[in-house]
Symmetry: C2
Subunit: 141 residues, 2 copies
């Protein structure tokens, strides 16, 4: 393994990209039945955890642009999983919450994510998982 001059295997960014790709691929292969992308699951999850959340809150939590967040919210709204309501205190804001269908979908998604995480974590001890999460958190702040 490894090239001769450059040794790309010492490049941390390269490993992060490959690991991300592997996780994305496993997700895509096993979540076709769910009909949701990774991002859509995250938004559904965060909305279920905190009903009334605004798009700008979601964007900050997921470190995404407002426009990117819009696209995902639109998709979930189009599937009838999320509904929007104007804020009573600040009419610029839209409060998001799950529909009944969205809550059911989130339950399915949580079960699917649990299986996905089990696959991902099977190669680590509990201490290693904690360590990995802590190290990654230092990168994304």
């Amino acid at each position: 393994m490894g090239g001769k001059a450059g040794d790309i295997d010492a490049v941390l960014g390269f490993h992060i990209r490959l690991a991300h790709g592997a996780v994305l691929r496993h997700f895509a292969e096993h979540f076709a039945a769910l009909g949701l992308t990774q991002k859509q699951v995250s938004v559904l999850w965060l909305t279920g955890d905190k009903p009334g959340v605004s798009q700008i809150d979601l964007a900050a939590r997921m470190q995404m642009d407002r426009a990117t967040t819009m696209a995902i919210v639109h998709a979930l709204e189009g599937k009838g999983l999320i509904e929007r309501r104007a804020s009573a205190t600040d009419r610029r804001r839209i409060c998001l919450s799950l529909t009944t269908s969205g809550a059911n979908k989130l339950d399915q998604a949580r079960a699917a994510i649990a299986a996905h995480e089990a696959w991902l974590k099977q190669r680590f001890s509990a201490a290693e998982v904690d360590m990995l999460i802590e190290l990654l958190a230092r990168i994304h702040g």
Copy 2:
């Protein structure tokens, strides 16, 4: 931090995605002058390390589809950084190598990557970097 019911912070895949996003963002912000994407740098690097490499080799090394690899090789060829030559032993294969311009570009890219990696690694000890790479490698195999 953390939601109430789900605790998305315990989801490893979520942290991998956020870390990947943070690295991508830093790359995009600091590599505009180079005129290359992360993937293009990787292909340039691997080609420089192993002249005569085929597209299928690159695809395997970077865990990408053949079609995706094509797009990146095309872009590099269009910039005059890579040249292709039919293999002498297997005429299905195309051997890739750097042009003089490509070799120069790779030198610049390596310097830029070194700065990028320094930014990324500044938050870790040397032992932690080794640990993180080892853990990530278990994910992407």
